[in-house]
Amino acid sequence: MKKWLKDEWVSQFVDTSLPIVAALGAFALGAVMLLFFNVNPFEAYGALIRGAFGSWNSVAETLVKATPLLLVGIGICISFRGDVINIGGEGQMIVGAILGTFVGLNLTQLPGWLGIVLAFLGGFVGGAIWGGIPGALKAYFNVNEILSTVMMNAIAVQLMNFLLRGPMIDPAQAELASKIPQTARLQDAFHLPRWVPTRLHLGSLIAVVLAILVYILLWRTVLGYRIRAVGQSPHAARYAGIKVKQSVVLALLLSGAFAGLAGVTKVYGVNYRMITDGSASGFTGSAGFNGIVAALFGQLHPIGTIPASILFGGLLVGANKMQRVMQIPSALITALNGLVVVFVVSSEVLRQRRQRHRLAEKMKEVSQNEGGVPDDDSREVGG
């Protein structure tokens, strides 16, 4: 029995470290690519790590980049746990930011804190709408959410371009020939407080608090239990009397809402205006996709997503340093993120298989104990 306990502990450890092994695999492959470009991978990765964590300022930058990843990521935890694949983080960030920015540009009479609170509320609602639509389409019209969220991303980009070049354009830009798609600057009272001289802002702390709240929501409330039950098995959940359709809509709606908040933190914490280059990533910095990477790496657990976001935020910051020092384009990190996703998702099945195997072993052991003294053969199998 003692040996079994020990084995259990070991295999739990193996399971939790699988994503790390997967990521190391991705970086090993990245090292091969670097060698191909005649770059010493140790030097390149060294520059990457120094760039991400080498000074207080770089740590602060890492946390700034990690914030939208974490907010998108905790939303992804909710949706993926609820059997809904949300690829629409980009669009949800955009629409959340549009609504949040609209609040800040129009309710100028409000005291600063109230303006910020209402802006976050606007971002939450905007993201919730953009996530809720695919949710309702899936629940009531059987539309595949992967496709609808991708479509919603494309629609959000056009909406953003239309508004930022038209009705919401910065009056100063409207008079210039360049017509950069950006809104006017938010008044100083609405800027999220910063840890001067760095750019680290209050949004990072808010994101961590929300991650804890999402953990409580998923594992300590009836609502969260329902979402996870549907994720485990929609059929079983239906038999248990859970309204599956509502749960699906809610999972995507909440997922979108947190992505919407991610958009708001970019506007109120970093740029103080909404600005783009005409593409989705021009505003989001691809956080809608990279948040998925962080959440998967955090094993779809909101608390696990906190260090995962810091890691991937660090990669983004470090990549810039690597680009400057080693002339390795930061696009390498995008490619490596993709590999991490592929590796983590592939190892996930391995983990599940091990879990099933362990469960079967346990059942065998239980049935042996019930059946009295086991004979030699079965003991061999059980051990």
Partner: protein
């Protein structure tokens, strides 16, 4: 002004470039039709297209041989398909998420290679126009249908060919049976894994060609993220077209015609916000998915990995 849009020459121009712009959608979406018919949702199309576009451009740029470029795109796309097949068929990875991984990989990798190998935006002399004898001289129709580069003709020829392969051949029967009921197909001696490997690699190769059709036939340049979401649309077009090549073609034409219209609006300097026009096909796709999801059935085993009972 707006009345310019309705002059005969402009209308012909819009339709002709609409036909031409449908090419990348067609290659990618027809390839994806094969994968999905066998039960694999390949969401990495966009990444495969980007790598294909780069490979084709780079080879064509350095060797001056466009067909070698095509071959390079085909091989790169097929290799990406092979990786996708391994991950989904052997490792049973969740298809939607691993597809996003392959997308990010292709997006980053093509950008990295572009910056390290090419450095700046270059141009190639892409596939020239091939006027079909006699037909291209037809009034109106000739200019719309029969004055395009070779890749356009091949793309449209692939529509009936795909239909024939899927519906009228043994291979097609195998593909469909694996996508509908892999257990039954397996019990009849069809190798589910082998069929899915074939379709996913084929889909990857065709996505690679779709990328090439952009970089060495339509635009004749390579730029970062030059497909800008086209690969994702291609995946949606398969649903839009209810897994039938003709339906896929219809969807591709709707998207390309709206794109073409929007380009002409910009060229003519008509003051309509084109963003709203570009939004329309996406909204239309969602509406079609809504109305068709209840009536049309997707392949039953789509996104479901197959594990052989021992």
């Amino acid at each position: 002004m707006i009345s310019d849009l309705f002059s005969a020459t402009v209308l012909v121009g819009i339709l002709a470039s609409g036909i031409r712009l449908a090419t990348p959608y067609l290659y990618a979406a027809l390839g994806e039709t094969f994968s999905q018919r066998s039960g694999v949702l390949n969401l990495g199309v966009e990444g495969q297209m980007l790598l294909g576009a780069f490979a084709a451009f780079y080879v064509a740029f350095t060797t001056g041989n466009l067909w070698l470029g095509m071959l390079a795109a085909l091989i790169v796309g097929a290799m990406m398909g092979l990786a996708m097949a391994f991950v989904t068929v052997n490792l049973h990875a969740e298809q939607g998420i691993s597809g996003i991984g392959f997308y990010l990989f292709g997006l980053g990798m093509s950008d990295l290679l572009f910056q390290k190998v090419l450095g700046t935006v270059e141009t190639v002399k892409g596939f020239p126009k091939v006027n079909i004898p006699y037909l291209s001289d037809l009034p109106v129709l000739g200019k719309i249908l029969f004055q395009h580069n070779i890749l356009v003709y091949i793309a449209f020829a692939l529509v009936p060919i795909s239909w024939f392969v899927i519906n009228k051949t043994t291979l097609g029967l195998k593909i469909r049976s694996v996508g509908e009921n892999p257990e039954a197909a397996d019990s009849l001696g069809v190798s589910v894994a082998r069929v899915r490997y074939f379709t996913v690699i084929l889909g990857g190769a065709m996505s690679g060609i779709a990328g090439a059709s952009q970089s060495i036939a339509l635009l004749n340049v390579f730029q970062q993220n030059m497909t800008s979401g086209l690969g994702f649309i291609a995946v949606a077009l398969v649903y839009f077209g209810a897994w039938r090549p003709a339906g896929v073609m219809g969807g591709a034409l709707i998207f390309s015609m709206v794109n073409s219209l929007q380009l002409w609006i910009q060229v003519l300097g008509i003051p309509i916000p084109s963003d709203i026009a570009v939004m329309m096909p996406y909204i239309l796709t969602i509406l079609v998915l809504m109305s068709s999801a209840s009536g049309v059935r997707s392949p039953s085993a789509l996104t479901r990995p197959f594990e052989r009972e021992e």
